[in-house]
């Protein structure tokens, strides 16, 4: 029953993992909406800027991004706490992938909805906020659920910039005890339990968003 003694330390690490993941998802979701909407609604300059952001962060390694923000950025005088760096880089990653989800969902709203909004003389902002986004968000939710779980799993990389997350704690305990099987099994269970909770929360949000009769497809899914 040696493994019971690992639990307090692993639980502390899991808390750090949960905090970094949730913060990254929250900040990343904001970035995703800003960049996704900029892609669809912005003028040429704004949408190009958003495209550059998306492609830059989708096209480079998350681990290298972490190292770059943690080790390279301080060389030009900008440095953050390790946890802040971890959250920032993960959020930029979520924002880049999420902006594609937002853009795709907005583009999937039928052109007839835009025409109806125009015929009622809605302005562009009103059309976006009251007509297209509420319909698009429903379409985004399953993809955002996947992205949230992906983020949880990718957050293990922050252990490499000396953040004491679940993976980092597991490494430390293993180095002390050499009980690889016990420690890593528990760690896997920990990630799985957290992703189950995330999955459940996303399901609830999805069900809440599809509540009532507005989107009857919920009845079949």
């Amino acid at each position: 029953m040696q493994w019971v003694s690992y639990l307090p330390s692993l639980a502390q690490g899991a808390l750090v993992t949960a905090w970094i993941t949730l913060a990254a998802i929250a900040v990343g979701a904001v970035l995703a909406f800003v960049a996704g909407i900029a892609r669809v609604e912005g003028g040429r300059a704004v949408s190009t800027l958003a495209l550059c952001y998306t492609e830059l962060f989708r096209g480079t390694s998350l681990l290298v991004q972490l190292f770059w923000f943690y080790y390279a950025l301080p060389l030009i005088g900008i440095s953050f706490e390790p946890v802040a760096t971890g959250i920032l880089v993960l959020a930029l990653h979520v924002g880049a992938y999420g902006s594609e989800i937002v853009r795709g969902a907005l583009a999937s709203v039928s052109v007839q909805q835009f025409e109806a909004a125009r015929a009622l003389n809605f302005g562009r902002m009103h059309t976006l906020i009251h007509v297209t986004l509420p319909q698009a968000i429903i379409e985004m939710l399953p993809a955002f659920g996947n992205l949230a779980i992906e983020t949880l799993k990718l957050s293990s990389l922050v252990s490499l910039i000396s953040i004491a997350d679940l993976t980092f704690r597991a490494q430390s305990i293993r180095n002390l005890t050499l009980d690889s099987a016990g420690v890593y099994s528990l760690t896997l269970v920990g990630y799985f339990a957290m992703s189950l909770v995330l999955m459940l929360v996303m399901r609830l949000i999805e069900r809440w968003a599809r509540r009532g009769a507005a989107f009857p497809r919920a009845a079949h899914s």
Binding site: R124, I138, P216
Partner: protein
């Protein structure tokens, strides 16, 4: 000068509309008097829906001049496909409403919100004023009891009646109907036509109707225009067009649709 005492509300003067190499409206001339009910008929692809879509500013046109209540659609210094600023287009749109073939209700809003939303967001009415206006209009189309339903819970005919109420809530001077019954099951056509028939008695409302319901067109219109290849080939009173068409294309078309 007695005949031309009231200037036309809508005036197309030499309007040409092209989609790429395809000319949809060709040097098109057309006038509508205030309060007039005009039906546009003709084979598909003849440009009748395009006339409505241009009036609603859903489509730009390339040449000619279009005015509504004396307002030019294109501005002298206008840019972009519409050759007009968004603000100018919104001024024009405030006079025009449209009912679409596929209803185009907002699926995430209740019937009440579908009708009341634009008066609140665009006209700046209070929620209470807008809902009072919406209730009056839902009474007009016979759907007060469905006010809390969502579009997905309504039949096509009911959805189209909500769409008519939604367009009327903006108090347009001109209401455009683009094949309002073409997407409906035959047994639901009647209820929508009944609502449009009631509106046809509204003295002030100018109506342009694109339809394949010939008997209905004959009943409600002041004037019927037969379209062919991007132009009005023949127009006149419903009696004249339906009983004594003079142009061979009109005769051919009416023979084909009236069986």
């Amino acid at each position: 000068m007695t005949e031309n005492a009231t200037p036309p509300l809508i005036q197309f003067a030499g309007v040409t509309k092209r989609f790429g190499a395809l000319t949809v409206l060709d040097d098109f001339n057309f006038e509508v008097a205030p309060g007039e009910k005009v039906t546009l008929i003709g084979p598909s692809g003849s440009g009748k829906s395009t006339v409505l879509r241009i009036l609603m500013t859903l489509e730009p046109f390339q040449e000619g001049r279009l005015t509504l209540a004396g307002m030019d659609y294109q501005e002298p210094a206008g840019t972009g496909p519409f050759k007009a600023s968004e603000r100018h287009l919104r001024d024009i749109r405030s006079h025009v409403g449209m009912v679409f073939q596929s209803f185009n209700l907002f699926p995430h809003m209740s019937v009440m919100r579908n009708v009341a939303e634009a008066p609140v967001r665009v006209l700046g009415l209070s929620r209470a004023e807008a809902e009072a206006r919406a209730l009056d209009l839902l009474a007009l189309v016979g759907l007060v009891d469905k006010k809390d339903h969502f579009p997905s819970q309504l039949s096509g005919g009911q959805q189209q009646r909500v769409a008519i109420a939604r367009a009327l809530a903006m108090r347009p001077r001109v209401l455009l109907f683009d094949e309002p019954t073409s997407a409906l099951d035959p047994q639901l056509v009647g209820e929508v036509l009944a609502v449009i028939r009631d509106l046809a008695h509204e003295h002030d409302l100018t109506m342009l109707l694109v339809t394949h319901e010939m008997r209905f067109a004959r009943e409600v219109s002041d004037r019927v225009c037969f379209f062919d290849k991007g132009r009005i080939c023949e127009q006149g009173s419903p009696e004249a067009i339906f009983t004594a068409p003079s142009h061979p294309r009109t005769c051919e078309f009416l023979a084909s649709v009236l069986g």
